[in-house]
Every structure is written in C-alpha cells, then in structure tokens.
C-alpha cells in the first residue's frame, strides 16, 4: 500500500532512495520472485542440499570418521541391502506400517470431519480438543503410550481385563504382531486430527446449494454423501493422503521411543534402521541408502496425486 502511494507521488526530483527502492520492488517481475526467494532459499539449504548429499552418500562406502572411505561404489549399498535380512524385514514393516496407518487415519479422519461438521454447540472447543494428539510433541505422547503399553502397569490391559474382553495380559510390545499393532495404533491416534481438520475445511467449502438441489431431487443421506460430498472432497483428500503417506513412511519417533525396532526387528522402519546403521554402527553410506530407499515409492505417490489433481483442474 505504501509502495503504491510512493509511486503515485508526482515529484521524481525529490524521490528519496527508499522511495525509489520501493518503486523498483513494486514491479511484478521483481516483487514475485523476491517474495518467493526466502522460501526457495530455505528449501535449497535445508531440503535440497541435504537430499543431494544423502543421494551421494548412498552411493559411497562412507563410514563415520574414516578418511579411507567415501569411495564411489555405484549401487553396491542397495544390492547389499536387498540381501540383508534386517532390511528385508524393515521394508515389509514400513509398508505395513504406512499403508495400514494411512488407511485408518483417512477413514477415521473422515468420520471425525463428518461428525464435527454436524456439531452445533461448542464447535471450537471440540475442534481444539480433538486436535490435541496432533499438537502434543510426538516423542512426549509416545512416552505416555509407552506407559500405557507397559507390560506390568498397562492401563489398557487393566481396562480390557476389567471389561472381561481378555483373560490374560496382552504383551503389547513383546511379540511382533502386537508390537506392530501398538506402534500403528499410536500413529493412527496421532494422525487422525490432521485428516479430520483438513477434511472438515474441505467439507465446509462445499456449496450448500448442491445439498439443497440434492434434497429437491429426493436424495438420501448416503446418496448425498456418495454423489456430492465424496467427489467434491476428493481433491483435499488426495492432498492430505499424499502428505500423510510421505510422513508415515518417514516416521521415526514413535518406533524409536516404543520399541527401538524390536522385538527382533519386527517394528524397524526405514528411518529407525537408518539411525541404527548410520549413527550407531557408523555406516553412513549404507544408512543413507536405507533412507533413500523409500524415495522411489514417495515419488510414485507424489506423481500419481499431482496427476490426479491436474486432471481435476
């Protein structure tokens, strides 16, 4: 606004340096890139640069603190990983973890959005409180869950026993199946609000007239959902799901806090295995290869989603 007034002032001779500068900035071809520049810079420095380094590392035999390593070895790390039993297990775990979690987050998030949309009283209170799992730092809430899953003091076991649903304690983090279920449960619990609130925003953007028109046509609730809500919610859903897939594939904190990848590597994810390989064992190159492994999967997810969105537009 100031800039505009500066330009309109008809006294070029008395223009100060600041005024000329703001006039220069006011040109669209300058202002646009200038505004985007900080974001691009941050992306380049904090995302693109480390990412390129990671790709480079994944094709070297780099070991922490050893100068005789760092030789370029093409894809040797990757072919080695294919034969590694822990890595094979980790790959299955990661897909299981991500796909199951994202599916339930999506379904339950949608339910949450639909319910919240109907709530008429204390709207902000409910929205606020349901966002909590997503707002609390993950490592902190994971520690809370660690207590709830504790083999001795599990409040979950206590409840289930009291309700007569189980006859003996479940060892939540002690067997491969229950441990995977447990870490997925925490991920789902944490991720639902993100889906819920995003989808709620999408829901509220759907024009009311469409529902009125559907009412006139005599549509029932289900048919309204299927023919109006669902298709119009699809773009938001696609973006949110994409985000979530990317994040869930790269998840670290929940597993690190709850199981450290145990029992017997049954909950290791790419990120926790990367930490174990690169930091604890010092094999930086191999660790980078583990973390880069999910890159193709994520690229495919991104391409599919973007295509879908473009088609939609």
């Amino acid at each position: 606004m100031q800039a505009t007034t500066a330009q309109e002032r008809p006294s070029p001779t008395s223009q100060t340096f600041m005024q000329r500068l703001s006039a220069w900035f006011n040109q669209e071809r300058i202002l646009g890139p200038a505004l985007v520049a900080p974001a691009v810079l941050i992306l380049l420095v904090l995302i693109a640069y480390p990412f390129c380094i990671a790709i480079w590392l994944s094709m070297t035999d780099k070991v922490i603190a050893r100068s005789d390593t760092g030789n370029f070895i093409w894809f040797a790390n990757f072919t080695k990983l294919f034969k590694d039993s822990i890595f094979q297990r980790t790959t299955m775990n990661t897909f299981n973890y991500a796909l199951v979690s994202v599916f339930f987050k999506l379904v339950l998030g949608l339910v949450m959005a639909l319910v919240l949309d109907e709530v008429r009283f204390f709207k902000n209170f409910f929205r606020g409180i349901l966002l909590l799992p997503w707002i609390v730092p993950t490592s902190l809430s994971a520690l809370g869950w660690l207590w709830m899953f504790d083999s001795q003091f599990s409040v979950l076991n206590r409840l289930l026993l009291d309700w007569g649903l189980i006859s003996e304690k479940i060892i939540w983090l002690g067997t491969p199946a229950t441990a995977m279920f447990s870490v997925q449960l925490v991920n789902i619990w944490r991720g639902i609000p993100f889906f819920g609130i995003s989808l709620l925003a999408g829901l509220q953007a759907i024009p009311q007239e469409l529902y009125e028109a559907a009412d006139i046509d005599g549509a029932r609730a289900w048919s309204k959902f299927w023919n109006v809500t669902f298709p119009l919610l699809m773009p938001v859903t696609a973006v949110v799901t994409l985000f979530s897939i990317v994040q869930t594939f790269a998840d670290f904190q929940i597993v690190y806090v709850l199981t450290r990848g145990g029992p017997v590597n049954s909950t290791h994810l790419f990120a926790t295995l990367t930490h174990q390989t690169a930091i604890l064992a010092g094999r930086l190159g191999e660790g980078a290869a583990v973390s880069i492994f999910m890159f193709p999967v994520l690229v495919i997810a991104v391409v599919l989603q973007l295509r879908y969105l473009q088609k939609d537009n």
Binding site: I64, S85, I86, S151, G174, G262, P263, N265, I279
Partner: protein
C-alpha cells in the same frame, strides 16, 4: 567426630552437598590421618566391618597421589579458548550427577578455566559423538560407550600420556578398559567407568523355594526360576528386548560363559555356528519358559519397574534397583505386612557357564576430539577426575552404579562395595568383563555387530519361538559375516 559421622552417613545416603564434597576431598586427599579419622568415625557402623583389611593399602597410596596433584597444580597454568565444554553420561543416581558437576566446576574455579558441563542420556551421547566426529565441531570432551573409540579413532586425540600416567600410579587399567580404548597401541579415550552388573534378587522369595544361597551357575539359576514358577511366586526375568545396557549385558554374558562367541580369536572368522552357541540357545529356551513373556519387550527401565513393583524376583542390573528402593523407601506387601523392598533385595555375581564366568562390560570412556583447541586442559581435567580424591566422592554416592576402571582403587575404603555389604558382589565385576568382539581384538567390528543387536536378537528369536535354533544361528551368521568382513 560427630561431624565426620554425619558426613559419612550422608555420603552413604547419597545426600552429599558441595560443602560436604570439599570436606570429603580434604579428608581423603589431604592426609592419611584425615582418612583414618573418617574411618574411625565409621567404625561403629555395622556396614563398615568388612572393609578393615583394606586400610593399609589405601593409606599408603594416598600420599603418592597427592604429590602428583600438587606438582601438577604448580607446574603449568592451563588456559582455554572460550570454554572447556563436555557432554557426559547421566548416571541413574541423580546425586552422582550433582557431585560430578561440583567436582568439575570446582576444578574450573581452582584453575581459572571456564567449564560447561552437560549431563545427557547415554542414547544421545552416541549421536552427539557421531556428529562431532563427522563435522569436526562440537564439545571438547564427549563420553562414549563400549568400543566407540574404534568408530571415531581417526578423530580422537591421543591420550596415551594421560592413560599411561594414571595406569602407572593406580596398578593399571582393567582388561576391558584397555580393550575399549587402546586402538592400535595408542590410547584414544580415557576409560571412565563401568556400569557394573550383578543379579538383583529377592532374598525372601529365593529362600521360600529353598535357595538359601544364590545360584552359582546359569543352570542353578534356571532351577530356582523353575521352583519360583512352580510355587506361583514372582518369576525371574531377564531382558530380551532392545535394552541397550541390560539386554546386551545379559545376552553376551550367557553366550560367552557357555564358551560361545560371535567371532573367533582371529577377529575375522564368524564363529557363531557352534555346539556352544546351540547349548546357550537351548538354555535360553528353557530359561524363557520360567520367565514372563514380556521380557521380550523389556527396555533398560522395564526390569527396574517390574522389580520395584514386586512383580519379579530377579533380574540383571546395576545396583540401581536396590538404590532406588532405598532412596524412595519402596514398600512391598508380604501377606498383610508391608516391608521395605531394599531390605529384601540383595545381589549376586553373574552365574558361571560351562566356560566359567565371562561377563559383558558396560563401559564408558571420555574422548577428546582432535578438533578441540583445549586438548591440554581437557587432558588435565581427565587426569584430575580419575585421581583417587575425585573418584571416591563421585563413586560412593553412585551406590555401585559406577565402577572405576583403574584397578588400584577398588579396595579403597570408601568405595561403595567396601562400605555396604549388599554391594560386595559388584567388587570383582571388572575382572571377568569384556567388550563385544571378544575373544578377538577386533572391537571395531564387534561394535558394529553390537549396534545391530545380532546377539540379543538371536537369543530373543529363539526364546520367543520366532525362529528355530538353526534359523536363528543362520540369520546371526549372515549379519555377523557383514560386520566382521
């Protein structure tokens, strides 16, 4: 006299203040008579009885140590660029951390050197050290665990002068300390402490099944475990999960004391596929049948919690379960009566296997990174910290959670295992302890296998029925081949 009694009582209770520490340092460091008077003060206490034979050893050694201290303080004024920064491992006894800070800050004041002490958890230290090694920037001193000196070898300052000096004055270093820190003939990290392990057990429950004296072999331990389970009493429980300290400690110790090992003495040949390993795995299968199944999910804190809750009757740990029970006054219900748990808790040394007693060393050392601009000051501090005068007031309130790495101080009168009979089983811990990579000297690869949990997972997968003995050995062998190649 009363004041000294009071000092000793507080020391034992771990309630030592900064003022107390300085008094204690004076008492232990200034003169042999000082020590003698503290000892005289503690003589009426029943706990002091077993320590008497050690008096002469300690009083003789003290003057030598003080002399060195004195010459060092005068010899060369130290200087640093900025501050002398360090990241040290947090002990499970909070009072131990406090004392350590006081000792270091005191040294800083005396030498006019600004110090910055950060006490962090063990799991964070490894990340800090790896980042420091790779980026060439960070704290001057980082406490590293196990064989990490091998991982960071190129980036660590040579501290042979410090270690040779300390070693020559205190009867040398324990084998495990040397294994961990002496890389290719050069000391690259100054040994700091072992977190000594023994089996914490409930004397009342063991007695209830007729085990009036602690088991001496793994086999006897199984028998007691079975008797406890048959009697419906709290079972024995040993960690089979990814518990960095307790899990590795237990599983490696069983493996080695059965005469098995992951690698042969040459440091290259994978040796896990052996009759000894099979015997150890068969034993673990049986042992697991008398343990609660949740031991598969135990982390380092789970066994402590379960023991403190009265849910288990024995587990391997540092002395921290007993220490916590005593500090917190934990009660346990016996019938209608409430009793102090710490009074029913005692320790016994790790049992022996067919190959005798071979134990895993949970170990920390203090590394100085070669990028440091304060190497001289860091060396001076590390020497100072490992002198008897500083070891005693730090080791004692840790109640057995830390064990010195120099052989010469374990008989000192104020070491916790000499003042407290219940901690006596920790006294010989370091004599039988080794690092992953044992019996070879390839500790670099041993550390790699350790980081991958190869041994713990092998035992856990068999115990938990996730793999047969053959499958578990084959999986371990493949992973070990990669570590030791």
């Amino acid at each position: 006299m009363n004041e000294q009694k009071d000092l000793l009582r507080r020391l034992n209770e771990g309630k030592l203040s900064r003022r107390d520490f300085i008094k204690l340092a004076l008492a232990t460091g200034a003169s042999a008579t000082g020590i003698a008077s503290v000892l005289a003060a503690c003589a009426p206490q029943p706990t002091a009885a077993p320590v008497v034979p050690a008096v002469s050893a300690t009083t003789e050694a003290v003057p030598a140590a003080t002399e060195v201290m004195a010459t060092e303080a005068v010899a060369k004024p130290l200087s640093v660029e900025g501050k002398l920064t360090m990241k040290l491992r947090a002990a499970f006894m909070p009072q131990g951390n406090e004392i350590l800070k006081v000792i270091i800050e005191d040294w800083g004041e005396k030498n006019n050197i600004p110090v910055e002490v950060d006490i962090v958890s063990m799991n964070d230290l490894q990340t800090i050290a790896a980042t420091a090694a790779e980026t060439g920037a960070g704290p001057d001193i980082v406490e590293i665990n196990q064989g990490s000196a091998y991982l960071f070898a190129e980036k660590l300052a040579d501290v042979s002068d410090v270690c040779d000096d300390l070693g020559s004055r205190y009867d040398g270093w324990y084998a495990a300390a040397e294994e961990a820190c002496k890389v290719d003939g050069k000391w690259l990290s100054v040994p700091r402490f072992f977190a000594p392990h023994a089996i914490s057990y409930r004397t009342d429950l063991f007695e209830a099944v007729g085990a009036s004296k602690p088991p001496e072999t793994w086999e006897e331990l199984y028998e007691v475990g079975k008797a406890l389970m048959d009697a419906g009493l709290a079972p024995i429980a040993f960690p089979l999960g990814h518990a960095v300290g307790d899990g590795n400690d237990f599983n490696y110790s069983v493996l080695w004391s059965y005469g098995a090992s992951d690698v042969a003495a040459d440091g290259k040949t994978v040796a896990i596929d052996s009759a000894e390993t099979r015997a150890a795995l068969e034993y673990m299968q049986r042992l697991f049948s008398v343990m609660p199944a949740d031991t598969l999910s135990y982390d380092d804190a789970s066994n402590n919690r379960a023991f403190l809750a009265g849910a288990i009757s024995a587990t391997n740990n540092a002395s921290t379960i007993w220490g916590a029970a005593r500090n917190q006054g934990t009660k346990v219900k016996i019938g209608e009566e409430e009793k102090n748990l710490h009074e029913l808790t005692d320790h016994f040394v790790y049992p022996s296997g067919p190959a005798g007693r071979v134990t895993y060393a949970e170990f920390m050392s203090s590394a100085i990174f070669s990028y440091s601009k304060n190497i001289d000051a860091a060396k001076a501090l590390l020497t100072y910290l490992n002198e008897r005068e500083q070891l005693t007031p730090w080791v004692n309130p840790n109640l057995g959670f830390v064990f010195p790495t120099l052989k010469g101080v374990k008989d000192d009168l104020l070491m916790p295992w000499n003042t407290t009979p219940k901690l006596a089983p920790f006294k010989d811990y370091a004599d039988t302890s080794h690092l992953p990579g044992f019996p070879s000297t390839n500790f670099r690869s041993g550390t790699d296998a350790y980081a991958k949990w190869v041994v713990v997972d092998m035992f856990a997968s068999v115990a938990g029925g996730l793999a047969t003995i053959d499958e578990a050995i084959a999986t371990a062998a493949a992973l070990l081949a990669d570590s030791y190649k």
